[in-house]
Symmetry: C3
Subunit: 305 residues, 3 copies
Amino acid sequence: MFKEKFREGIISAKQFDREDIEYILKKGKEMIKIKNSNLLQGKILATLFFEPSTRTRLSFESAMYRLGGNVIGFHSGDVSSIKKGESIADTIRTVENYSDCIVMRHSLEGAATMAAKFAKIPIINAGSGSGEHPTQALLDLLTITEELGSLDGLNIGLMGDLKYGRTVHSLSILLSNFDVNVYFISPTELRMRNRDKDFLQHREVKYKEITNYRKILNILDVLYMTRIQKERFVDTEEYEKIKDFYIFRHNDLNNTKDNFRLLHPLPRITEISPDVDSSEKAIYFKQTYYGIPMRKALLAELMAK
Amino acid sequence: MFKEKFREGIISAKQFDREDIEYILKKGKEMIKIKNSNLLQGKILATLFFEPSTRTRLSFESAMYRLGGNVIGFHSGDVSSIKKGESIADTIRTVENYSDCIVMRHSLEGAATMAAKFAKIPIINAGSGSGEHPTQALLDLLTITEELGSLDGLNIGLMGDLKYGRTVHSLSILLSNFDVNVYFISPTELRMRNRDKDFLQHREVKYKEITNYRKILNILDVLYMTRIQKERFVDTEEYEKIKDFYIFRHNDLNNTKDNFRLLHPLPRITEISPDVDSSEKAIYFKQTYYGIPMRKALLAELMAK
Amino acid sequence: MFKEKFREGIISAKQFDREDIEYILKKGKEMIKIKNSNLLQGKILATLFFEPSTRTRLSFESAMYRLGGNVIGFHSGDVSSIKKGESIADTIRTVENYSDCIVMRHSLEGAATMAAKFAKIPIINAGSGSGEHPTQALLDLLTITEELGSLDGLNIGLMGDLKYGRTVHSLSILLSNFDVNVYFISPTELRMRNRDKDFLQHREVKYKEITNYRKILNILDVLYMTRIQKERFVDTEEYEKIKDFYIFRHNDLNNTKDNFRLLHPLPRITEISPDVDSSEKAIYFKQTYYGIPMRKALLAELMAK
């Protein structure tokens, strides 16, 4: 049972096998039809964002309200006791007494894992440094399956910052449960890290690493682009050199299949030109929409009786 | 119909003709009597404040709760993806998927107009740089009509920073629909901008520009004071020179009519001396109270079935 | 009647006599059993935090939601009109028009007292500089009485920063209504201030001032530790010298009574070693839990019909 298996929360995409994913995608699909409900009336979600967020925090909060619950939290480490030197473990052992579930984002990779170790209530990892962002990857899969029907057999390109990009880490792990061909497209400096590739090899995922996306654009069903993340670079000069490595433009769409879909977890800076936005193949704003039903499904699983 | 005309939101005072204003004032008046209702149950308001606010944000949020709805949002550009370089258009096309209406404040004059161009849900302009602040002007009119009965025939002074003051811009535009005499009182450096005066001349508003308010204080029915806004000055020295240009004191009240009323959108710094606060003619705190019924009326019009 | 006596709010522990404390402890005890209710449906709590907070703000907000109410507010003076130079009095006379009760934290000692002077609705002091933090002291008493049964006859040590620590100020004032032996344990530089000691002497409290807690550890029923607060020191070097003056470790527990309990208002930095956390005698996380029923009791008294 999903509820039982995930009673400690959603920490990593590695927790999910194919059955779990298919179950939560089905629940997400059901939530598309249920705009408002009272399923979580009387429940309180805590959103602890030590790093800034627009999409993830606001969509979790919106999802919670749509289910009849309430929300407490903070949007920056500066306004909480973290500033006074409190440890994550202490913050969690406090906030668990005020709420029924904690959504947290932190700049440290191990933060959510550590939080779950101490908490008596479920923890949802809403981004842990360069590590993972599993609920983003789940909504990405809901987007793809709603738009293209099925995952099996698809050619999927993950492009941009594959080294520090937590969304592509979680997404590639989830995809390893399906029969897909994965293309890791990045500048040499931002390739997937060995530990991530080792995991995928162990799962026998068929993947290729390439630099020039135009070489394979015509065979892709999905291209998942990501931002080069300034905040992960120690050296600003290095960021400046690489930030415009990829710019996807409207005429790139000419070389794509009819059912090709362009996704992006957003925010987007310059890597997708605004002239792409109007195409039906560009579904990154629709993708934000799917965040609500998927997060409603997850909150319901973790908190409803 | 108001609902139909304003389905894209409340962006500028220029959208309003006399009939619209009278309609929404009537609705605001009705909301004074209805403390709580369930009119907006299940609805979500997003408050996106890229610039700081106490009054505007908190009163919109209070109004939304009083109508049974919920609120998501951020209080500073620092805690959202703006910090990562996201455009307003992208933020709007995301947040519209999480909410039913967006209230936004931004330092750029064209921000709300641009947001409305991209949004599928209503946008409310809660302050766009030095441009406009239409919902403040509407609550100002509710205050005046509740306190003095009618607008027609009144002598109204707008005083302080008329160049950068967004509230006086919106208020003077709304007043152009009524038979009022307007006095623009400011230091020479902070006169109404030509583009604003051109609009009023086009509407055949009777206005005079003066510097010394004491010369006309005895004929005014309403004096609407504003703060000299430090944040709009590039040169701090210039601000320091001009910030105490006007200080309204208790003995100024001796030269005013019995029904004279002093308004201010607040915050007030030094421009109204605290010894004025206790006078019945000083109604700037009462004015904040009228923000709730007016914003309830606007939210209800934009979101209720 | 409690409601009548505290209609201006909870500003100082000095407002409370023994009967008031026993009354609100009884109400807090009752709230432990009532997880959710609709007692404050339609009510709005404003949380105005000019200084950062995790525990206090989030527990007030959680308590308010558990009683069916709603919450507006800000978490930092930076995102409000304070930044523009607004006075506390003006902020209060505004926000009282948007809400039914105001919880505020401010770096100035007299802030809450001043706010209450201007407000028409109840003010709750959630920390006023180095002055007081009365609701924390009330939840501390709920914790002690729930864990140890009764206050009379207990030996209670208050340890750490007794000079600037607002929680120990409020707690020692509340304790002065009971037949307890109080030990003020601190480095010489951080002793209770004379004005606080004068108050306790006037109330004929039996207290001793000591530096080495190990000398009396074996007779204590309760040790209430506090953080040396970096933010109260003007001189960082002085803080660095004194910050690790006390470190309570697991082997300290060997010299304590069976029913000994270690409390801390949190956040804790280094003053309690993590190896103490697992002991049943360490109840500082349980203590955060008691914040919810106590704050529910207070909100209900101040706002319910």
